[in-house]
């Protein structure tokens, strides 16, 4: 007798070859089979003698009468099993073998389900899917474009879309009042584990709506996906302003699976640290911290390591102050020489601390301090196991600032205003007067959906009036001529009857990886590229023929 595991898309099934009812030839044939051979087998499904309740097909086997080897196989370069011995590079080179592994196959099937239920939900709401062009026009705003030389228009280039933004707005001007598309987008930026040069968006736009309509519609989408893909009944999605998110979590995408909210010892509303000769706190705009439950047991060594972790260039904190609330009720801080017991008691009260808690404090300029403290909070969440991949907390962050000030990319000696979302985002009507006086204070009708600390979607109410759009380009440093040359089609369109409209886009790859409980999007993409933008399987990009370059009127330079 001989057993062979047969794997197909649906799982593994056991084949049984018996001497009794198989000819000698059949059994001999079966003995020649190797790993990954492709076979066709005919036989009878029978109850298995020794059942395997860990396999969906563990109750049965197939007693084979007929076996055809359709294609033999060389030994694969890594194990095709759930846990493989293949490294990232090898797996990517032989991605077609990696895709045979059950976890990756499940990821792609999950992806299909997410797409399917997204379409079903939006179709039922009479959204219409419209394909927008891939060969569009390069624009200076935003990330770097991939470009495509035009053979028929020498010296000119198409760009690949970073998003279908202007096209979906034009569709609203056209009267398609509910649009969506699951669509590839492209950004020529340096890559990380969660960033690919080509990625997929669920791109949506609605006309004659308010921000409230958009939030409700797409909260519905997410709830639907959680129900149908994960069988999770999502509670109502809470909303938080950007200002509140920054103050409570130091992040515009807070992970609210756990607490550890910021407490300010010195800030806008109180000061519990000044006047004790501790210069670091005295000079700080903000002294804030988090309370880590049960972490009073952290040793001095552990705390020193944590301090070093905070001082790494990625975070850049100057230091880390701690206060232990010991189980015996005593308080012990790293700044005991400045602060007496009663000060520490005040701190403990401010944090609502309990015996066993550890307080971790940092200080400095407010924005930077919050950012650093956010990193610490997430790290402590990880250490305490408070961020399980299979627990989901969804949040809307609203009322983003319209603009942020930054260095001019062409001239580092100057600063300029940048659109925080994009140049088409509408300021809140009541904040429009501030555009002239204090642009940094202007809030936008912009919103992000955050799941477990990851921004999965974002959008805004759009500008739909030509004058306001022109004003916006002006603030962003466009001359009137530049605005007209780049976005004249949109400005003109607003003159011919443009409805109020708003939209949102979800990062589809990221959404799928979240549903799959994974950090990296790469294994939710069938054929991803590596950090150099290469597809190592097909060996792309690659040089092209001289004839092609000539036809395209370009030359390779400086290589």
């Amino acid at each position: 007798m001989l057993w062979i595991d047969l794997r197909d898309r649906y799982g593994i099934t056991q084949l049984l070859f018996e001497e009794s009812d198989a000819s000698k030839e059949l059994l001999n044939n079966a003995r020649t089979l190797g790993r990954e051979f492709v076979v066709a087998a005919k036989g009878e499904v029978i109850e298995r003698y020794s059942k395997n309740d860990k396999m969906p097909t563990g109750d049965i086997e197939v007693r084979v009468h007929e076996l055809v080897v359709l294609n033999p196989a060389k030994l694969p370069p890594f194990l095709i099993e759930d846990e493989t011995d293949g490294g990232e590079d090898l797996r990517m080179k032989y991605r077609y073998l990696d895709l045979r592994r059950s976890p990756i196959r499940q990821n792609l099937m999950l992806r299909h389900q997410v797409a399917r239920h997204t379409r079903r939900y939006l179709d039922d709401l009479e959204f219409i899917e419209v394909e927008t062009p891939v060969l569009i026009k390069s624009t200076p705003e935003g990330a770097r474009d991939f470009v495509v030389p035009s053979r028929m228009n020498p010296g000119e280039f198409y760009a690949l879309p970073q998003s279908p933004q202007t096209f979906k707005q034009l569709l609203m001007v056209s009267g398609f009042d509910r649009y969506y598309q699951i669509v590839k987008c492209f950004r020529d930026e340096d890559l990380r584990a969660d960033r690919q040069p080509e990625f997929t968006q669920i791109d949506c736009e609605m006309a004659f709506v308010t921000q409230e309509d958009v939030l409700n519609t797409f909260e519905g989408l997410i709830r639907n996906l959680f129900k149908n893909v994960k069988n999770i009944d999502l509670p109502e999605v809470p909303r938080m302003t950007y200002a509140e998110a920054m103050q409570r979590y130091g992040s515009d995408k807070p992970d609210i699976r756990f607490g550890m909210e910021f407490v300010e010892l010195k800030g806008a509303s109180r000061d519990l640290t000044s006047g004790k000769s501790f210069n670091v706190f005295d000079a700080a705009e903000l002294v804030a911290g988090i309370r880590v439950p049960g972490a009073a047991i952290y040793t001095r060594k552990q705390l020193d390591e944590l301090t070093e972790w905070m001082r790494r260039p990625q975070i850049g904190a100057k230091g880390l102050i701690y206060m232990r609330y010991n189980e015996d009720g005593t308080l012990k801080s790293s700044v005991d020489k400045f602060y007496d017991e009663s000060s520490l008691q005040q701190w403990a009260a401010a944090f609502d601390a309990q015996p066993g808690d550890l307080l971790l404090l940092i200080s400095g300029e407010a924005d930077q301090t919050r950012k650093q403290l956010s990193e610490l909070r997430l790290e402590m969440g990880n250490r305490l196991g408070l961020r399980p991949a299979d627990e989901y907390r969804v949040l809307w962050v609203v009322d983003f600032p319209l603009l942020e000030y930054g260095e001019d990319e062409h001239d580092a000696s100057h600063g300029r205003w940048y659109a925080m979302h994009h140049p088409f985002t509408s300021p809140k009507p009541e904040d429009i007067p501030l555009l002239a006086t204090d642009p940094g204070k202007v809030r936008a009708n912009a919103y992000d959906m955050v799941i477990n600390g990851v921004e999965v979607g974002g959008g805004s109410v759009r500008i739909f009036q030509k004058e306001l759009q022109k004003k916006m380009f002006e603030i962003l440093g466009f001359t009137a001529e530049e605005a007209q040359a780049q976005f004249g089609f949109l400005l003109n369109a607003f003159e011919f009857g443009a409805p109020p409209h708003a939209g949102i886009a979800f990062g589809f790859d990221r959404l799928c990886s979240l549903f799959g409980g994974a950090d990296s999007i790469r294994d939710f993409i069938a054929f991803p590229k590596n950090n150099s933008g290469r597809d190592v399987m097909i060996d792309s990009p690659s040089p092209i023929a001289a004839q092609q370059l000539k036809e395209l009127n370009i030359k390779v330079s400086g290589v």
Copy 2:
């Protein structure tokens, strides 16, 4: 009183403003409205006094209580009505206004329905939609690629896919036994009304199947689409070999909405024309014609015009011979001086001609004659109104030749073999020996779906053995090194356990235009490009900044 037509995505609704229940202000406000103004109106739906049964909403109107002008509009540059006064150029420049016109809006809604039902059908059959990459590798075979310079890999380029062919085959090697994708593809070729630089395919592949399985599965898809989109019960789809289609219709995509099949007076099986001193026919390999019912009334002038039409360079016939079967039973031909009554009687019998019929004959080398006669047949079908846009006849054409001989693109003095479908198409197993002796005779397991004379889809059983695939590349003129450099990943994949597989791709734009009863695909694409590959609305392609070129390590040359 004042009536205003309100148009939205769903149609036109009449608004009624009455002095009686509206304030003076409301009526005055309504009087300021112009064409294409965007308004919000609140009111009461009432039965209309004078109903309009030509409008879906003709029974009602809305008595308005409240009116807000959301955005005024300039007068649009052309009429936004079913029949517009706008020319193609103007419509394309203001495509967002053109898309407001009901016929175009209906087209895009039809397109969405076709996509939706395609997905539903394939999902139900457990096909999985997998996104394949857009940034791939340029290959020399096939049409011209669009390329994308890589900033991170100087001097190297991605290519945009002409189809996801190799990726879908790799998915079969990965064990995803049923794949589909509705996907953008790209070809940098000269453009026509029915060809766009970017177009959409329904791309499908199946493993462990025969040609028969594929034909049945996708006949099912088309039947499903006709039923759900057009409410047409499609009969079983007939099949015809390529050889038969060429002989009977002179085309591998015959329009079988009407007959007028070819009759050969001189060919492989008989000769009813030779030996009468008519040198043209005596020297011809083939004398064939069509019988045009009721066209014996064609005047000499009309026949002369038809002859000129056949002589145009696009067709290139040397001449056109006719024979009238007059209503009085007499026969009259343009070659009466060579053929007597009894010869003409023989011809009439061969055509099964009736009084009133007109026979149109041409002659020459067989392939060319068939091609020319096919054009004539289609033209006569048009003239006789035998090709109505709302009647559909679907056909499978099977058993295409594997190879066709053509001029070498790099060296016109040589010929070489080209893959008729693509290099991955499997020869019929019984014809494989002919590869060595008579490649032109080898038939492929390749098939096209033809609707009303338009090829809407095509596919093949694929090669899945490395040695046969290498042999195929060799026949196509690849050196072993070239084959390995270009398609090594696929050749290698075939060694690790590749199942037999087959697939098909449908031209989605064309399918939609057929369902919509239109010849051009352009109005089934939201934002199409013109014949120079330009999007005149956004003015793309366009020059890019020197800084962009520098980052990409390319220079524009020869402009």
